[in-house]
């Protein structure tokens, strides 16, 4: 789960990490009130969406008066911000965060991140703050310093010192920085965060370290034990259909094509999307109805897929394992009747009792096309939507 910058900053502040004073606004008038409540002479108005690259997209504005803050809020609120992380459709801005400007001497990068390869948390720091860290890693890897958190939540001070001296801080700043890094590691552990990123971390003119931005990813599997974090979820940031699917207990990701897919198992679902593309058509979604797809889940799956107006045909690919194909076929038939399926459907069944399953589909008098293999299924569906190679 991701949170907004303003929520991340509130959490950082709870852990004793300095952040600029600021407030949230959903209207230009609120923006004025926030700006007037903060000492100037400079304020920053920032769009709050779950995506990076907001500055380049016009979602961040430095202003020099409350009146300018109102103008900036007017422009940013309600805009659809397109950045390299939003996809071409962009994201609607519903809130802006207005904060006191910071006099920046230098910008650093600091993050605690789950390192899958090392199977522990890593702390990364770089003197090249405020930039896309992937780009820094690719072009100037010598500017990135990394250390790993040993067993438990412990980080030796020397590990943090090494990073901070590497970033060119002076001994006094390093002292403050060590405490900051340790707070960040503690926070990642306590809140089950897989990423806590401060980019940029400003070294101010007075020599303080201040988090000018914050990005946190929380482990979805751990949200149950952090109700205070789960409450930060902004459902508006998720595609409406995906949200509906989550409520139904389905794994659904919306894509831009027109072939709806319903598959049991995530790996097979991805592979099914891939064969559709190979056959010359485009998948409209990823949908995993679970390894043991039931009639109920298939019905829900149809409902979600058909809520996408782009869908012109549906491919169902089920490998019946312990759940038998005849049970599944009966489920698909019942579900298709229930939802009055009006788009062409290609069904590919394999696994336990497959003959019986195919017979049930064949005798259902529904306009199913039954395919024997994945390749055949994809070719048939591509033909239906007119994209066949």
């Amino acid at each position: 789960m991701n949170v907004h910058e303003y929520q991340a900053k509130e959490l950082l502040a709870q852990y004793g990490i300095s952040v600029p004073r600021g407030g949230l606004a959903t209207t230009p008038e609120e923006a004025r009130a926030v700006a007037e409540s903060l000492p100037g002479p400079v304020w920053v108005v920032k769009a709050q969406i779950h995506a990076g690259g907001r500055g380049k997209g016009g979602g961040v504005k430095v202003v020099k008066s409350a009146a300018e803050a109102v103008e900036a809020a007017k422009r940013i609120l309600g805009m659809t911000l397109v950045t390299h992380q939003t996809g071409p459709a962009g994201k609607l801005v519903r809130r802006v965060w207005i904060e006191q400007g910071t006099e920046i001497a230098r910008e650093l990068y600091l993050a605690v991140v789950l390192d899958r390869g090392a199977e522990r948390l890593a702390v990364m720091a770089s003197p090249a703050g405020g930039m896309d860290i992937e780009e820094v890693a690719a072009k100037t890897p010598e500017k990135i310093f990394t250390t790993h958190v040993e067993q438990g939540r412990f980080l030796w001070p020397f590990q943090a010192r090494k990073l901070l001296f590497g970033c060119g801080l002076n001994p006094k700043q390093v002292g403050a920085g060590v405490a900051l890094v340790q707070k960040l590691v503690l926070m990642a552990h306590e809140k089950d965060a897989t990423l806590v990123e401060i980019n940029p971390l400003a070294l101010t003119a007075e020599g303080n370290l201040v988090a000018l931005d914050g990005k946190i990813n929380f482990d979805d599997s751990a949200l149950k034990r952090h109700p205070e974090i789960a409450a930060l979820d902004d459902p508006e940031e998720t595609d409406a259909l995906e949200r509906q699917a989550v409520d139904m207990g389905l794994n659904y990701i919306r894509l831009s094509g027109n072939v709806g897919t319903m598959v049991n198992g995530a790996g097979l679902a991805m592979a099914t999307m891939d064969v559709i593309k190979q056959a010359g058509a485009e998948p409209a979604n990823f949908l995993d109805v679970g390894g043991g797809a039931s009639e109920e889940m298939v019905t829900k799956g149809f409902e979600v897929i058909l809520s996408d107006p782009n869908v012109k045909a549906i491919l169902i690919n089920i490998f019946g394992g312990i759940l038998r194909c005849d049970t599944l076929a009966a489920g698909v038939v019942a579900a298709a009747r229930k939802v009055n399926l009006a788009v062409p459907l290609v069904v590919r069944l394999e696994g336990t009792n497959v003959e019986e399953g195919r017979r049930i589909l064949g005798e259902s008098k529904l306009a199913f096309e039954v395919a024997g293999s994945m390749g055949e299924a994809a070719a048939k569906i591509a033909q239906v939507v007119g994209g066949a190679k």
Binding site: H189, N251, V263, G267, M270, I276, K277, D288, G291
Partner: protein
């Protein structure tokens, strides 16, 4: 022959008395697996499917000489269950449970590593050595005893591949679903090493997906070790968009990392046989093996 589980495996099911645990334990016994005990804290002394149920794994190990554990307990308790099995001296721990907090696994993995326990999963279908022993939730009947090793990050996609192999006349030595989570027990490389030493495994299939760099590491190992057996590779998720978790917690392209195209390129560079059309997996393996 096979790796990790065989006729000598004696399985304790942690969470046997739950609905899923009981169902799959019964399926495993029907397959011929030696399931010897169940563990459910608080239900010690009871009987389930004719098996003794214990409060702790240690008691189960002492009473039944169990050496393999299968874990079906709810996600919040699963890491703890894996550590309990390891502390009790279990050699192979198979974790089926899904949605385990990732930091729990970071701690559990370190705990198991210290004790030399092999963990499979979590969030996986388990492991099967066809004709000998099935420790997991996969449909047993699609498998056939033979000499192809299968290692996969997925569940039903593995069944698809195994089914094709069997239909192409190729049996399997051992098939392992290593799990779809960011932190897992045994990786591709660990299992490739075991298959290299298993004299009855003639070829290995690696079924990968987007996210992480397990496929790249496997490819690099195959190249640098001059792996002695043919390895076939497949990667799911060429059409997956970046930044989205595709069902499995670990299946996500982060920035430019974890893309299917990079994994396929690494496999090709390592001289692996990359399968591009999933529907022809079995045929392609059969053709190469036949020479």
């Amino acid at each position: 022959m096979s790796i990790l589980v065989d006729n000598d495996s004696r399985v304790v099911v942690q969470g046997l008395t739950g609905k899923e645990g009981m169902f799959h334990a019964e399926q495993m016994m029907a397959y011929g697996t030696k399931v010897v005990a169940g563990v459910t804290p608080g239900k010690g002394g009871q009987e389930c499917l004719g098996l003794p149920v214990f409060n702790t794994v240690s008691e189960a190990v002492i009473a039944t000489r169990a050496n393999t554990s299968l874990i079906f307990v709810p996600a919040a308790m699963a890491a703890d269950a894996a550590c309990e099995a390891s502390a009790a001296g279990i050699k192979v721990v198979v974790v089926i449970s899904e949605h385990i907090p990732v930091m729990d696994m970071v701690r559990a993995k370190a705990f198991l590593k210290e004790r030399g326990t092999h963990m499979i999963g979590p969030n996986c279908p388990g492991i099967i050595s066809p004709g000998q022993c099935k420790v997991g939730i996969m449909p047993g009947y699609i498998h056939r005893q033979g000499s192809v090793g299968v290692i996969s990050r997925s569940g039903t996609l593995t069944y698809e591949v195994v089914d094709q192999l069997t239909k192409a006349g190729l049996g399997q030595s051992t098939c392992i679903g290593i799990g779809g989570d960011p932190i897992i027990g045994l990786h591709f490389v660990d299992l490739l090493k075991m298959f290299a030493e298993d004299k009855d495994t003639e070829a290995v299939c690696l079924i990968g997906e987007i996210g992480g760099d397990a496929e790249e590491k496997a490819a690099s190992y195959i190249k640098t070790s001059r792996y002695p057996k043919p390895v076939f590779g497949f990667v799911a998720g060429l059409t997956a968009p970046p930044g989205k978790r595709m069902g499995h917690a670990g299946a996500i392209i982060s920035g430019s990392k974890g893309r299917a195209s990079d994994k396929i390129a690494a496999m090709e560079a390592a001289g692996m046989h990359v399968v591009k059309e999933l529907g022809k997996f079995g045929q392609q393996v059969a053709r190469v093996i036949a020479g």
